[in-house]
């Protein structure tokens, strides 16, 4: 449990980290990372009942799976601030010999990551597997997963949704980052998702709408309430409206910043909008300071 003001401060620092991480290597995905910063901050610092030390099997604690692995800058920043590894390691993001690969992986042994993701559509299935194992083990903790909205175009997602309802995986909470954008434009332009709440309901899920996915108070409340609604025979879907690029005015609301890094000037402009609350991680010969 965390205070709302603390969560807001953490999210601000996380957003600074995201912008800096993608700037330094001139690559990565700032749009979705910024949009989901409130969600992942609230999840790790308020909702999840997790152990301090990382255990791959996650027994006796809540676990989280990031299915849309491209928002790795956000994931890494939150994991670092949550204590799984040193915040300064964020300066290795996407560089050679780093544990912070472009997309998250277990391959380099980064604590906090339980499966590789990046090729879309696979995370919900993996989360289902852990949810079943928890049931087999009479472990009452909860499994969380996050997917993108464009990611719902992958067929495997719907296999997993059907399966979770059939197996009554009521210890599973899947959040959809419903920002309406994907690489080639809006969902509606690329491949319309249709009536998403109705689809999830028809697949046998308990559906929660979170229309203010960038309002920390609303996010915190919704996540707490979703966790309380577990154990009722149905998996839970949180359909969360966010704004891609949230927190940086010129990145907001457009798909243009899905996978593009800001230049130096833009980075300064972005950081000016994001208060440094917990201290920036160190970057050797920081080009932003020259």
């Amino acid at each position: 449990m965390a205070k709302l003001s603390d969560l807001i401060n953490i999210a601000s620092q996380v957003r600074r980290d995201i912008v800096r991480m993608v700037y330094y290597v001139n690559s990565g995905h700032p749009g979705g990372s910024l949009g989901c910063a409130d969600f992942l901050t609230a999840l790790y610092f308020d909702t999840m009942k997790r152990k301090k030390r990382f255990n791959m099997d996650g027994s006796g604690e809540d676990v989280f799976f990031l299915s849309n692995g491209h928002i790795s800058p956000l994931f890494y920043s939150v994991l670092a601030h949550a204590g799984y590894f040193k915040v300064n390691e964020l300066n290795t993001f996407r560089k050679i010999n780093s544990r912070l690969q472009g997309h998250p992986t277990t391959h380099e042994g980064l604590p906090g990551v339980r499966v590789a993701s990046g090729s879309l559509g696979q995370g919900v299935s993996v989360a289902c597997g852990v949810a079943i194992a928890k049931k087999m083990n009479n472990d009452s903790s909860v499994v969380f997963a996050l997917t993108g909205d464009g990611e719902l175009q992958e067929g495997q997602i719907w296999e997993a949704l059907m399966f979770a309802a059939h197996k009554k995986l009521d210890n599973l909470i899947v959040t959809v980052d419903w920002n309406g954008q994907q690489i080639d434009g809006s969902n509606d332009k690329v491949l319309s998702l249709g009536d998403l709440p109705a689809k999830f309901k028809a697949f046998g899920w308990q559906v929660i709408r979170l229309q203010e996915g960038n309002n920390m108070e609303a996010v915190q409340k919704t996540l707490r309430s979703a966790r309380r609604k577990t154990g009722k025979g149905k998996p839970i879907a949180i359909l969360m409206n966010t704004e891609m690029g949230y927190g940086v005015d010129f990145m907001m609301g457009s798909h243009e910043w899905h996978g593009v890094a800001p230049n130096k000037e833009q980075t300064h402009k972005a950081l000016a909008q994001l208060p440094e609350t917990l201290g920036d991680y160190e970057y050797p010969s920081d080009p932003l300071k020259n």
């Binding site: 277990t106 391959h107 696979q122 597997g129 296999e159 059939h166």
Partner: protein, 311 residues
């Protein structure tokens, strides 16, 4: 070597799975709507709470298996070889192989001996696909007994495994022999030619060796049940002696056991070599024996390959 029976290799898998259910509480089984074909019913009956039915959704099955493994279970995920590889290659690659999950991919009905269902189901590319994945162990046992022992062995081995077996009843001839992952099995010693065979073709190689013995040709037959990691030492030791190589497998020539051995020999001991394998073709409907003959995998095809390499 004695023939002690005639049984499908998939039954070796099913019987061992039941044994594992009794001996190892971490073992769980998954299936995508093919329980009878995979011979998993006995496990399901005795351990319903450790069985997960996925329905016809193999991609999800691979992900769920990865999740179960993450949580410390040892999942055995069973379906036809076609749906256990080609259909779900990316799921296996990312969620299982790259993530180094302790998942056992159990693939039945591999190759043309699946028979009448035809080419849509007769995968002949699976060994190639799976052996290319870093860290994946690839095993293709030759009879009921070896499949049983291989199934037991992979439960003790940490890491992703592709275990490939088949549909038709086949002679049982490895009773009493050991099985160790990655260790080639000497089936018959000889001096003129080394025949490296895997899966159903081990039997055909032994039959061919018998025929050729009558003509005064001494074949060494070695069973390569583990295609990856390959038992380089055993292969090189045999080739050092014979100087001639034939490989035999129920798989495409491209990317199979033969290619693994050719790669080893090209680097360490360039040697005259012939392949017994399907040569860039899809299969078709027919009985297993008809298909073996038509696609160049029969006993006479092994005989001919040995004669070619010796000529």
């Amino acid at each position: 070597m004695t023939v002690t029976g005639n049984k499908d290799t998939r039954s070796g898998f099913g019987d061992a799975l039941l044994e594992l259910g009794r001996s190892n509480p971490d073992v769980v089984a998954l299936c995508a709507d093919l329980l009878g074909s995979l011979k998993m019913n006995a496990f399901v009956k005795e351990f319903p709470e450790r069985f997960v039915q996925l329905g016809i959704a193999e991609a999800n099955m691979m992900g769920v298996a990865a999740g179960l493994a993450t949580a410390g279970k040892i999942p055995f995920a069973g379906t036809f070889a076609n749906f256990a590889t080609g259909r779900v290659y990316d799921q296996i690659r990312q969620s299982i192989a790259y993530s180094h999950k302790n998942v056992k991919i159990c693939a039945s009905h591999a190759g043309v001996t699946l028979g009448e269902d035809g080419a849509t189901h007769q995968i002949l590319e699976d060994i190639g696909m799976m052996k290319m994945l870093p860290g994946m162990t690839v095993i293709n046992p030759c009879d009921y007994e070896q499949t049983r022992l291989a199934t037991l062995a992979v439960a003790e081995h940490y890491g992703p495994v592709y275990l490939r077996f088949g549909r038709p009843a086949w002679p049982i001839f490895t009773e009493g022999m050991k099985f160790e992952i990655g260790k080639a099995l000497m089936m018959k010693e000889g001096t003129d030619v080394s025949v490296f065979a895997t899966g159903h073709l081990v039997w055909n190689a032994l039959e061919a060796a018998k025929i050729l013995a009558a003509e005064g040709i001494s074949c060494e037959v070695i069973n390569i049940h583990t295609i990856k990691p390959l038992d380089n030492e055993a292969i090189l030791e045999s080739v050092r002696k014979t100087g001639k190589v034939v490989t035999a497998e129920e798989h495409q020539r491209n990317g199979g056991l033969g290619d693994s051995i050719a790669q080893l020999l090209a680097m360490k001991m360039p040697t005259r070599m012939e392949y017994v394998a399907v040569n860039d073709k899809f299969g078709e409907s027919g009985t297993p024996m008809q298909l073996m003959e038509k696609y160049g995998l029969g006993v006479q095809d092994v005989v001919a390959a040995i004669k070619r390499v010796l000529s």
